[in-house]
């Protein structure tokens, strides 16, 4: 696939900050994001002037207006800087940001994501990802897609299980850097990978969590580690997936500690799980997913525990 990443510079996590997740944060988005980016910089012992690039992960529809990052330039720290917005799980923004640092775009980058599900309805928004002509009129939603996958796997009709996805408000920010900060790093990015399944992932030749398997394999390849090296698995989302299914998909041992709050936090889900992983020692696998029926999966291997 690519060149050997083993010669690529190691990317350090210089600092991090997290607000929430809680059912509701009574603050506008710009205040929320400003506080978390400021806190992350303080945690890293850096100033905004040290930052060369900003990568965000957010959704216009969840934020409530088109090009939502327009009004958020000041709070994300993007003024005069290289800015990229990924419309997917924040682990995707992190992977792109790490590559930006490796490519020489910036020595220090911010990676930030947020979600105010107290003011948005995932139930209304998620079905908009379905083909408007053929699938939306059928009521295709994430639970429906998951149930259809389950039916395919079990070879029998199964019922849709409507679940209340725990949501809430949250904002998170990481500071990543080419060089380890003098104040001590919070973690290291060992590897990242992501993969995509077919639309609705209902093809006979495609396993339901195949994107997870492929994403994990790519992350491990970059880290030059094998599955046995993983000490813990941290999940963003995946609330409707059993431990057994996820462990099998990630090809990690059944005894590997799985830590998951099973929260659905929009595009911030994966980065929230990663923030939790930074407290753990040893290579931690952080998983995120997106799309109806896990159309896309992200895997990031981090080494944390530096500040335990």
């Amino acid at each position: 696939m690519g060149r050997s990443m083993s010669t690529a510079p190691l990317v350090h996590i210089a600092g991090s900050a997290l607000m929430g997740p809680v059912p509701r944060i009574d603050a506008p988005l710009d205040d929320l994001i400003f506080k978390v980016t400021s806190a992350a910089l303080e945690d890293a012992g850096l100033r905004l002037d040290d930052v060369g690039a900003v990568y965000t992960a957010s959704s216009d529809l969840l934020d409530g207006r088109a090009i939502s990052t327009m009004t958020l330039t000041a709070s994300t720290g993007s003024f005069a800087k290289h800015e990229m917005k990924v419309c997917d799980d924040g682990l995707g923004a992190l992977a792109l940001a790490a590559d930006g640092v490796r490519a020489g775009i910036a020595d220090v980058a911010l990676v930030t994501s947020w979600s105010k599900l107290s003011e948005a309805s995932l139930e209304m928004i998620a079905p908009l990802a379905a083909d408007p002509a053929f699938h939306r009129p059928l009521g295709m939603t994430d639970p429906v897609a998951n149930a259809l996958q389950k039916s395919k796997a079990e070879g029998r009709a199964t019922q849709v299980s409507e679940h209340a996805a725990p949501g809430g408000d949250v904002a998170t920010c990481l500071v990543i850097a080419r060089d380890a900060p003098l104040t001590g790093e919070a973690g290291r990015i060992l590897g990242a990978g992501w993969s995509s399944g077919p639309y609705l992932t209902l093809r006979p030749d495609y396993e339901p969590l195949q994107a997870v398997t492929e994403a994990v394999a790519r992350a491990l390849e970059e880290a030059a580690l094998d599955n046995d090296a993983v000490v813990s698995v941290h999940c963003g989302g995946f609330f409707d997936v059993t431990d057994e299914a996820l462990t099998h998909a990630a090809r990690v041992g059944a005894s590997v500690a799985r830590i998951s709050d099973r929260l659905e936090l929009g595009y911030a889900t994966g980065l929230v799980a990663l923030d939790n992983a930074l407290a753990q020692r040893g290579p931690a696998l952080v998983l995120g997913r997106a799309g109806l029926g896990t159309t896309r999966a992200y895997a990031v291997l981090v080494e944390g525990g530096f500040r335990a």
């Binding site: 696939m1 690519g2 060149r3 990443m5 010669t7 690529a8 900003v54 959704s59 216009d60 529809l61 207006r65 088109a66 090009i67 990052t69 327009m70 009004t71 330039t73 000041a74 003024f79 005069a80 800087k81 290289h82 800015e83 990229m84 917005k85 990924v86 419309c87 997917d88 992977a95 792109l96 590559d99 930006g100 490796r102 490519a103 020489g104 775009i105 928004i125 998620a126 908009l128 990802a129 083909d131 408007p132 002509a133 990978g193 992501w194 993969s195 995509s196 399944g197 639309y199 495609y206 195949q210 994107a211 492929e214 790519r218 970059e222 997106a290 799309g291 109806l292 159309t295 896309r296």
Partner: protein
């Protein structure tokens, strides 16, 4: 950048008001197939995909990249969607370049899609991009906001209505030479000045059309690029974001609201990476994301193609016409085709075609170094790329 990157294939659909006979995946597939054909490549030659598409409310489909996964040959491949408003296509190209320059991937397919006319009114959607509390009563949309800028340009003597009319005429004439262009008719300056007023001083023929369409560019690393007969090396890139509020850019940091300083900053970054010291001499052709004729003149200055305040001199000299000293938008540019989220990628693609020598009837003879820009928000987000036919000028090695 750490590793050399080159564009080796370009594909575009014909840009039109509406394409009712195809859905989004089918439209994207047209562009992707064309890019593969141009590059003599196929899906197996692609390691990853960057999907560039701006506000999903235009199409009414959330996360359109997922719907298009099969159409881009993306099953079991890494796909990322990028969205920076109007700058989306440019950001997508730069993201693709970063993924290769880092060493992660050897080839990335960048795809741009927008179907603006799936929505009833683009301007109704654009009203939502502004502050809902302080600005919603001001009836801001893109046309009225750019009209504010143009009013100040006129009031401060930075352009004239004649300048704006000439730019429109130039771009429409160029569009007739581009088989993909949405608008393919010539207009006279008198026609421009007599066209319907939309928001003073902007008239219909000062403004871009609403276009549906898709574009695809295949990027590869240096080693793979040398296996292709034609390539456009990505010599330099830069992006910058300005503050949101228009009022905060009035007489700030020595610049006026209508002087797109963030484009200037982005260009400085790209020129530094590309080692361009004198853009007026070193840039052979520029594909600029200027959906309004008033903006294009200001962009000449921000890009260093003219000094600040001297953009109209290029107009007076007709320097930016095809055949002029520094052709700008020889493809017709966004004023003749504007599938918003894809338009920045179209600029990148057209600039690549120029240095590849593949721009057909709108080829700038002898073009070796080209500029491609993209703009988002109200002069808020900018990307700049310098593309070159010559690897040696990049200072890299394959």
């Amino acid at each position: 950048m750490r590793n050399p990157v080159a564009a080796v294939g370009v594909g575009q659909t014909r840009y039109q008001t509406r394409r009712p006979e195809v859905n989004a995946p089918e439209l994207v597939h047209e562009a992707v197939s064309a890019a593969f054909s141009h590059a003599n490549a196929g899906p197996d030659d692609v390691d990853a995909i960057v999907f560039a598409s701006a506000p999903e409310v235009f199409e009414g489909v959330n996360e359109p990249d997922r719907w298009c996964t099969e159409a881009v040959g993306g099953v079991s491949k890494p796909i990322l969607r990028i969205h920076t408003g109007g700058a989306t296509g440019g950001s997508g190209a730069l993201a693709g370049a970063e993924l290769i320059a880092s060493g992660r991937f050897r080839s990335v397919l960048v795809v741009g899609l927008q179907r603006v006319t799936e929505s009833r009114s683009a301007q109704e959607i654009f009203r939502t991009i502004f502050d809902p509390i302080y600005e919603s009563e001001v009836q801001l949309n893109v046309i009225t906001a750019v009209a504010l800028l143009a009013s100040r340009q006129l009031a401060h003597g930075r352009i004239t209505l004649d300048d704006m009319a000439w730019v429109s005429k130039k771009n429409f004439a160029a569009g007739t030479l581009n088989p993909y262009s949405h608008l393919q008719r010539e207009v006279t300056e008198d026609e421009v000045k007599a066209s319907k007023m939309l928001a003073n001083p902007l008239r219909l023929l000062h403004c871009c059309p609403r276009s549906d369409g898709a574009c695809a560019v295949l990027l590869t690393d240096g080693e793979r690029a040398t296996q292709h007969g034609r390539r456009a090396w990505v010599r330099g890139t830069g992006t910058a974001a300005d503050v949101y509020r228009l009022g905060d850019r009035i007489d700030d940091l020595g610049r006026q609201l209508y002087e797109p300083r963030a484009l200037h900053w982005a260009a400085q970054k790209a020129y530094a990476m590309a080692r361009v010291q004198d853009p007026q001499r070193e840039i052979d052709v520029a594909e600029i994301y200027a959906p309004f004729s008033s903006l294009e003149v200001a962009f000449y200055e921000a890009l260093g193609l003219a000094k600040w305040g001297e953009g109209p001199r290029l107009v007076a000299e007709e320097a930016t016409a095809l055949g002029g000293r520094i052709p700008v938008c020889p493809s017709g540019g966004p004023m003749t085709s504007n599938p918003i989220g894809a338009t920045g990628l179209v600029r990148f693609a057209e600039a690549a075609l120029q240095v590849m020598g593949d721009a057909g009837e709108h080829q700038v003879e002898g073009a070796k170094t080209a500029l491609a820009t993209a703009s988002g928000g109200i002069d808020q987000f900018f990307t700049v790329a310098v593309l070159d036919s010559d690897l040696e000028r990049t200072g890299g090695s394959s």
